[in-house]
Every structure is written in C-alpha cells, then in structure tokens.
C-alpha cells in the first residue's frame, strides 16, 4: 500500500509533463488525458482510503521513504511521504474536487485554443498540492508550497494577453513571496532548534523547546499561512486572482490551495499549542480576516470578486478555528472540507452563469436567471444555503461548531472571537443572499456585450453541470455525514488531538443565535435587493460601501505604506549614502589629500631640509637619553 502513495503525486505530474511537453499533437486529447490522470490520482486516493479504514485509528498513518534528497553532514532532507488521516482528508478533497473541476473545465475551456496547456497547469497544480499535503517533512512541504504558488501564478495569468490578468498573476506571486519567506525562515528556525525538519521529530519534541523560539517559528508559519491563504495583512492578491479562468478560481482560489495555510497551522499544531502568543496572533488574524472578507464581499458587484471575499472570510473562520488549538483543529478541517464543496460549487455555478452570459461578471447585469439555468440555479442555491449555514446543510454543522469553539476559548477573548464569528455569519448571510437575489431573481437587466451580442442565457453542457451537481450533493450532505456520531471528529482525532471546550454559553444557545443572525442577514438583503428592483448602476453608497468596493483600501494601504514607504526609505538611504557614506569616504579622501598637501611641503627635495630633520631627531634622541639617565 505504501508504494501507492508516490503515485498520488506521480499521476498528475506525469500528466503535466506530457501535456506541457507533448506539443500540438496532444491538443485533441490533452484535456481528457489530464482529467483521466486526475481521476487516477483520486482513485488511488480512494483505494488508500479504503485501506486506511481497514485499520484502527492509531495505526492508520502510512509512511514511505522514497530516497534521500539532500544528505549533507548533519543536514538530512528526504523525499518521504506520510499519509495519515489529515493528509488523507486533503488528498481526497484535492483529487476529488480537482477531478470534478477538470471535468468542468473540459466544457468551460472548450473554445480556448490553449486548453491543453491549461490542463497541464491544472495537473501540475494537483501534483504540487498533493505533494504539499503528503510530505513528511517541512522542506518537502515547501517544495509543494512553491509548486502550488507557481501553478497559481501560471493559471491566474493564463489569459496573459489581458494586462489585468498578467498584473494579477504577478501580484499574487509577489504577495505570496512574503509568506514564502516566512515559511523558509520557519524551516531554518526549526533546523536550528530541533536539528531536523521532519514532522515526526519536530512535532513530538516541540514541547521541549523554549517558548520564545516556538513563538518565533509559529509567527513565521502564520506569515506563510497568511500569504497562501490570503489572510490579513497579505490578503490583497486574492481578489485580483479572479482574473484567472473560473475553474481555477474554484479549484485553487476557493477549495484547495488557499486552504494550505490552514493545513500548515493544523499540521504544526504541536508548535502552536506550546506557543500561546502565536496562537493569539493566529486567532486575531482569523477574526480580522473573516470580517474583512465578509465586508468586502458585501460591496462587490463582480460575482467572482464577491465570492472571493467570501472565500477570504470563510478561510478566516478556519484560521480562527485552527488558532483555538485542540478545541478547534478538527472543526477547522471540517469547515475546510465542506467549504471545499460548497465554495467550489458556487464558483462553478458562477462560471456557468458567466458562460451563459457572454462572460459578463457584473451581477447588476444579471437578474431573473433561474428560469433559464435551472440546474445552475439549484446547485448554486444549495451551495448558497450551505454557506450561510442553513440548518441541515454542510455549512451549518461546520460553522456552528467553529462559533461554539470560539466562545469556548473562554474569557473576554472568547466573547470577542465568538462575537466576531457570529457577526461574520450575519454578514455572510447578507452578502450571499445579495448575490443570489441579484443573479437569479428579479428583473432581467441584461445588456449586450461590447461586441453587441445580446446574451442568450442557456444551461451549460453536461461536462459542466455534472460536477456542479456532485458538488451540490456534497454541500447538501457532507456536514451531516461528518457530524452524525462525530464521524469526522473520531477520524481526525488521532492526528490533531481534540479537547472539548467549556463554553460559557450552551451549544443550543449558540445555534439559536446563529439562526437568528442568519435570519437577520437574509432579511436585510431581501429588503434591499428582493423587495425593490436592483439599480443597473451602483448607487454611490455609504463611506463603508465605497471603501469595501475598493477592498477596504487594501491596495491603497499597501501603496501608501509599502510602496511609498519603500520609496521614501530608498530615497532616505540614497540620501544617507550620498551625504553620510560618500561624505565619509570623500571627506576622508579630502582630509588625507589636504594633510598630504601640507605634509608634502616637508618633502621639498632639499637635502639640507632633510638634514635638519635628521639633526633635530638626533637632538631629540640625546635629550631622551639624558632624560632617561636623569630619571
């Protein structure tokens, strides 16, 4: 069984290699080859999963050592895999959702002449992402981490002929670089602290290291997670990343890659458990981001950007849960999986809508689409209900648990975090209802596109609807399946550990409160967008709305603080270089030159002058001798 683990990575990697190197003769079959290999990876994952279920909880983890990668003295890096329940969860999510989205892309990218390359990139992403989650040490994880970054960059900029896409790709890459630096520093710190960076030794001896060092490692890991998972303060790239094709947004920027940060924090749980300060930082980031993303999502008219804000917000929930420690890890992953279903489904639905509307993304130009796209409407609707936490659907179970866990953190902190999570739930209900109403209900507000083509909304082809239906089923039932008998909890507990928090409010109260804010959020949205017609041009809006439309000024902030600040700093440094450094150098030169000019006068070339110096020196010597004798 261990031998199969490598194939999880190998299959999509082979696909990427073949598709990217194969050339034009693969154009006709390339997309099916890519989908097939993704599916193969999923099948292997399923086989391994079945095998894993056959063993008891403590013995489910599989380890395999492929080869020694970098053996240099005391430094040892292996290519070795570890497949435990956490990795298994991710593998199934990644390959499962990945396969569905491959299938969807077959239809979505049908008219793109570079479809083969697109599938190559998608396979490359799958390989890197699977490598990320099954690596058994941080260095190999880092390889996968960079690999998904690369794939993300390539796919965001897939339509590189659009300057906005090229810029967005660069932005994502550069912002991610900040986080990647954090990860590399964290790995270096681990090596100096533990002498290794394999998960086993590092995590088992994490408690022995000093808290200061662990806090430093934890903060660096958090920085890495912030970059990859688009958390404040490195969140700015995710909205722009929607320039990529919609399947990419669904797979990479909603379901899988952006959750890598959650995986990293959960995987490094032992480190965070021993570093409370780092945990505080994690929950703060999570709470801030979940509100930040939600607020941004409320103001966007671009359907994909609204969903991107939502993604940011939902990952904020996960990070928050992961930061809560053992009481939250399981729920973070559970929300991650359910989110993978419903958010991927929502994005695919959005893609389907765009497909039918001549690639129009402005929701103010949608309206009344439910009659024209029934399948899309139903699947999107199920995703919608799941994300707002409608009772019985998957989001309800996972999000509710996170809110409970936040309250269970205890003390003022618990109240603040729980309150933020509740507020986030209300805003989620609001903006998702807004998206739903603007897209599928109300009057038709369609306008011809730039070329004058009237939109003719129609249902998407089967290759696109089937994945949507499957994901919708996941959104519908996953939460219940996971929660009944605490299946998911028992499944993950051996890896992440679990502790029951002591909530100051009962679980029932939390559920009722969640329901209440849900209703409030929906009601407000309905009163604004359901009861009266949606204006075709966005009203000016309040200050907050305008700020939210500009992503809460994130880019302005970055521009003013980082770009301008950097420029100022550079100018200052140049100034310092010119005045201080050059001044010192030139000053020294001038001083030496001046001194030499003075001293040169002693060197007048006259032997008699030299003789005077000699004679004077002799006199001084005699004086010194006499003095010494006198003393």
């Amino acid at each position: 069984m261990e031998n199969l683990i490598g194939l999880l990575v190998a299959a999509p990697l082979l696909g990427a290699a073949v598709l990217l190197c194969g050339g034009k003769r693969l154009d006709r079959v390339g997309h099916w080859l890519g989908t097939l290999l993704a599916a193969a990876s999923f099948v292997i994952g399923a086989v391994l999963f079945a095998d894993m279920l056959g063993r008891s909880g403590e013995h489910r983890a599989l380890h395999t050592h492929l080869f020694s990668w970098v053996p240099v003295g005391g430094f040892r890096a292996d290519v070795a895999f570890q497949l435990d329940q956490l990795s298994m969860t991710f593998v199934l999510l990644i390959t499962g959702v990945g396969t569905l989205i491959h299938l969807y892309s077959v239809g979505y990218m049908e008219h793109d002449e570079r479809r083969r390359r697109f599938f190559g990139y998608l396979n490359l992403f799958l390989a890197a992402m699977v490598l990320l989650v099954i690596a058994d040490n941080y260095l190999l994880l880092y390889v996968g981490w960079e690999g998904v970054g690369l794939a993300s960059y390539l796919l965001i900029g897939f339509w590189q002929h659009k300057p906005s896409a090229a810029t967005a790709a660069k932005k994502a890459f550069i912002v991610n670089r900040v986080g990647d630096m954090g990860l590399s520093i964290a790995i270096m710190l681990m090596f100096t602290t533990f002498g290794t960076f394999a998960f086993g030794p590092v995590l088992s001896s994490a408690g022995d290291a000093g808290e200061g060092k662990l806090t430093a490692i934890g903060l660096m890991l958090l920085l890495a997670a912030c970059g990859k998972s688009a958390q404040v303060p490195l969140q700015s790239w995710l909205g722009d990343a929607m320039e990529g094709p919609t399947p990419v947004s669904a797979l990479i920027h909603a379901a899988t890659m952006v959750t890598a940060g959650v995986y990293l924090i959960t995987r490094s749980g032992a480190i965070f458990n021993a570093a409370p300060d780092a945990q505080t930082a994690v929950v703060t980031v999570g709470a801030v981001t979940l509100l930040f993303g939600a607020i941004v999502g409320c103001a966007k008219d671009d359907i994909k950007k609204a969903l991107a804000g939502s993604t940011m917000s939902q990952i904020g929930y996960m990070i928050l849960a992961a930061g809560l420690g053992p009481i939250g890890y399981v729920f973070a992953i559970m929300h991650l999986v359910t989110h993978g279903f419903f958010k991927a489904g929502l994005f695919l639905g959005a893609g389907s809508v765009m497909h039918g509307m001549n690639d129009e993304v402005d929701m103010r130009k949608y309206g009344g689409l439910r009659k024209y796209m029934p399948v899309t409407f139903v699947t999107f609707g199920l995703g919608y209900l799941a994300i707002i936490g409608f009772p019985g659907l998957s989001g309800f179970f996972s999000k509710d648990k996170i809110i409970e866990a936040a309250f269970a953190k205890g003390g003022t902190e618990g109240w603040i975090l729980g309150g933020a999570a509740l507020l986030g739930a209300a805003i989620t209900a609001y903006y998702m209802t807004r998206v739903m109403l603007m897209t599928f209900f109300g009057e038709k507000r369609w306008v011809p596109d730039a070329d004058g083509n009237e939109p003719h909304p129609h249902e998407s082809p089967k290759t696109m609807t089937i994945p949507m239906i499957i994901l919708a089923l996941g959104s519908l039932g996953a939460g219940a399946v996971f929660s009944i008998n605490d299946t998911f909890l028992k499944w993950l507990e051996p890896v992440t550990g679990h502790a029951e928090g002591h909530s100051p409010v009962s679980a029932l109260t939390v559920t009722i409160a969640t329901m209440a804010v849900l209703v409030i959020g929906v009601a407000i949205a309905w009163s604004q967008y359901g009861r009266r017609p949606v204006p075709a041009v966005a009203p000016r809006g309040s200050l907050l709305t305008r700020a939210a439309r500009r992503d809460l000024l994130q880019d302005d902030f970055n521009h003013v603080v980082l770009v301008r600040g950097g420029e100022q700093l550079t100018r200052g440094l140049v100034q310092i270089d010119h005045t201080l450094v050059d001044g010192a150098v030139n000053g020294t030169a001038t001083a030496v030159g001046g001194l030499s000019g003075r001293l040169r006068r002693f060197q007048n070339g006259y032997a008699r002058s030299y003789a005077v110096s000699m004679f004077g020196g002799a006199a001084v010597l005699i004086a010194a001798t006499l003095l010494m004798r006198a003393v």
């Binding site: 040169r600 060197q603 007048n604 070339g605 006259y606 032997a607 008699r608 003789a611 005077v612």
Partner: protein, 99 residues
C-alpha cells in the same frame, strides 16, 4: 686643566660642523663641514683614550680617518660628476626628489 675640556671643544666643533652642513649650499663646503664633524669626533675619541688610559679610542679614531679618506674620495668623485652634468655644485640644485 681637566682633559674633559677637550670633550667640550669636540662638542663645540661638532655642532659648528653640523650647522655648516645645514646652512651651506656648496656641496664641497658641506663636505668640508662633514669632515669637521668627523675630526671633532676623533678629538673626542683621543680625549677619551687618555681619560680611560687605554689605546682603543685612538684605534677608533684611526679607523675613522681611514673611512673618512675613503668617503672623501668617493664623495668628491660624486661631486665632480654632478658638476659635470649639472654645471653646479649646489646641493639645492640636486633637488629632484620633490615633485
């Protein structure tokens, strides 16, 4: 009279010779002043020889004379050569060391 007076005389002559080296420009006169300094030293050696009651001082003075003779031969040869090429015996004219 104390023979130490010879030493004072030697010191005086030596100083005069040194001052001459410093103030005269004619290389030959400068050279003479050097000879004067050497002779002053010789006088001191001879006086010391008498004070100490052995002949070593006189031996040193003798060697000084021999070396001075050698020095004069070479030095005057150099002066003549310089005079030939520069048509001057001034030590200040041979100031090629300065920029």
């Amino acid at each position: 009279m104390n023979p130490v007076n010879y030493l004072y005389l030697a010191a005086l002559l030596f100083t005069i010779g040194a001052a001459g080296v410093l103030i005269r420009r004619n290389a030959i006169v400068v050279f003479m002043c050097v000879e004067l300094m050497l002779n002053a030293c010789n006088l001191a050696f001879v006086a010391f020889s008498r004070l100490h009651g052995n002949l070593d001082g006189q031996i040193i003075a003798f060697f000084t004379m021999v070396v001075a003779a050698a020095e004069v031969v070479v030095g005057l040869a150099i002066i003549v050569t310089i005079f030939r090429s520069r048509h001057s015996a001034s030590v200040d004219d041979a100031s090629l060391l300065k920029l």
